[in-house]
Each structure stands twice: as C-alpha cells, then as structure tokens.
Amino acid sequence: MPSTNYFELFKLPQTFSLDVAILESNYRKIQSESHPDRFVTASPAEKLASMQTATTANEAYQTLKSPGLRAAYLLSLQGVTAIDEKNNQMPADFLMQQMEWREAIEDAENASDVSTLENLLEEIGIAGKSLQESLKNQFQHNHLSEATDSTRKLIFMDKVRADILKSIEKLD
C-alpha cells in the first residue's frame, strides 16, 4: 500500500503538532486488529493483507512518533526531500554545538555522572522543543525551505536526546 497516508491511517490531522495519545491508541487498535492470532483460520490472501496492514502501521507509527521523521514525512507529502543522503551540509555552528554536547555526554558517561547527564538532557530537551516550535510556525505559514532546514536539525536533536536517555538508563 504505497499510497497509505500515515496521518489518515491513525485518523490524525495532517499537521506537525500531534496528539501522541491518539497516535498511540489508534496504533494499538490497528495492531490488535491485524494480529496474526486473529487470522489463524483465515485465507492466505487475508493473512497476507493483515500482515501488510501491520507492517504499514508499524512504519507509520515509527515515523509519526519521532518529531524529526514526522516533519520529514510532512515535507515529503508536499514533494520536498529534506533527508538526502548525498547532502551532508549543515551549518557549522550547529555542528559545533552537536559535537560539544556529544563530548560532554561522553565525558559524563565515562565519569558515571548521572546528574550532569540529566542537566544535559534538560538543556537538549529545551533546544529541541524550541526547534519544534519554530517548525510548527514554519509549517503553519508554509515556509517549506525554512521547515526543511529545521527538520534536518531536528533529526540530530532527536538522535542526541535518544542517546543521552540510553546513557542515563545504562548508568541507573
């Protein structure tokens, strides 16, 4: 089903701001409706269709759950490719900040310093939220070029946040 719109699949408005509770509950509903246990006695065609539904729902859920991937998906629906593996140009000051955070996380992790990691998590969380706020405005005003730049940055913010959470978990 290549043309499945992820937002429609979960009955969500096609916007960057999203009600995570609705996303979660509609995802679980589709997962349980397409669970293999329900199709034990079904025809091969029905089994295949339910499997495809489950796969698409999983892909859609993973995409919409992550702010960066959600933004990139929204742009792709408008014909804009935000994530191009051949284009690694990012603003120098942005990369510098990413590198500083990465080094600080690494040092704190090596020193088993959970409170520094938690401070960094907060700092990175605030920066990520403010980027998401800009992105919300950029989408609202259809400023797609600015939205593309923000989306590319947001992927890094999501990644560094996920990694710091993993570090904290490891030390706890």
Partner: protein, 131 residues
C-alpha cells in the same frame, strides 16, 4: 545487521581517535553531520610545510560504519598530500570496508569530512599568505 570484519575491527579498535589543536595554523578541521541518521563526525588533519598530512585524528558519534569509515580515512590520510586527500572517494572507503548499500552514506560522510578539513586548511593557508 551484520558488519564486515573490517568494520568490526575499526569499530572495536578505532585508530587515531581524538583531537588536534584547532588553533594551530597547520591544523585543518572538518565537521560534518548526516541528517539521514543524526551522526556527527569531526576530522582534523595536521599538514607540514611541504603540504603532507603528518597526523590525522577523528571523533565520530554514530553507528559502527560511520566510526569505521572515519577511522579508516585517518590511516589513509597520513603521508598523503592535501590534494591526494581531497581526491579520496567514498566508493573506495565503502569498498575497503565492504559496506552494505544502506551504509554507503557513512562513507559519503567520511569523504565530506576530508573535503571540509582540506577546505579549512586551505582557507587558513591563504589567510596566512595574504597577511
């Protein structure tokens, strides 16, 4: 996903991890990031007066293939001229490490880091030449 032996080797024993003095006029820094995965890579090269790369260091925060790609290029860069370094292609890195198609972009990132480091040292040198 299964990594090749060469990737694992560089991942487990990365060569030349670290930094050089970024304020040294003979040191060029290349910083790049891949929006496809959020990986960041910093590559630093120290170039002597004959234009030969004497030392190279890297720091990469990302997947095994990105770490291996940057570790490998630091080995390759030493002893090369900056122009030879600039000519290194990602396909050579990908081939050496037997990267699968989904990880080719990690080698692209390493090539971009070399080009950025070379551009930085050239900018520093021409700034010095005009003083």
């Amino acid at each position: 996903m299964a990594y090749s032996d060469k990737v694992l080797d560089h991942y487990e024993n990365p060569r030349n991890v670290g930094s050089l003095d970024k304020n040294d006029p003979n040191v060029g820094t290349g910083m790049v990031g891949a929006p496809a995965c959020g990986d960041v890579m910093k590559l630093m090269i120290k170039v002597n007066d004959n234009g030969i790369i004497e030392d190279a260091k890297f720091k990469t925060y990302g997947c095994g293939s990105a770490i291996a790609s940057s570790s490998l290029v630091t080995e390759w860069l030493k002893g090369k001229t900056v122009d030879e370094a600039y000519a290194i292609k990602n396909s050579a890195i990908a081939e050496e490490l037997a990267l699968p198609p989904v990880k080719i972009h990690c080698s692209v990132l390493a090539e971009d880091a070399i080009k950025a480091a070379v551009a930085d040292i050239k900018a520093k040198q021409s700034a010095r030449a005009t003083v």
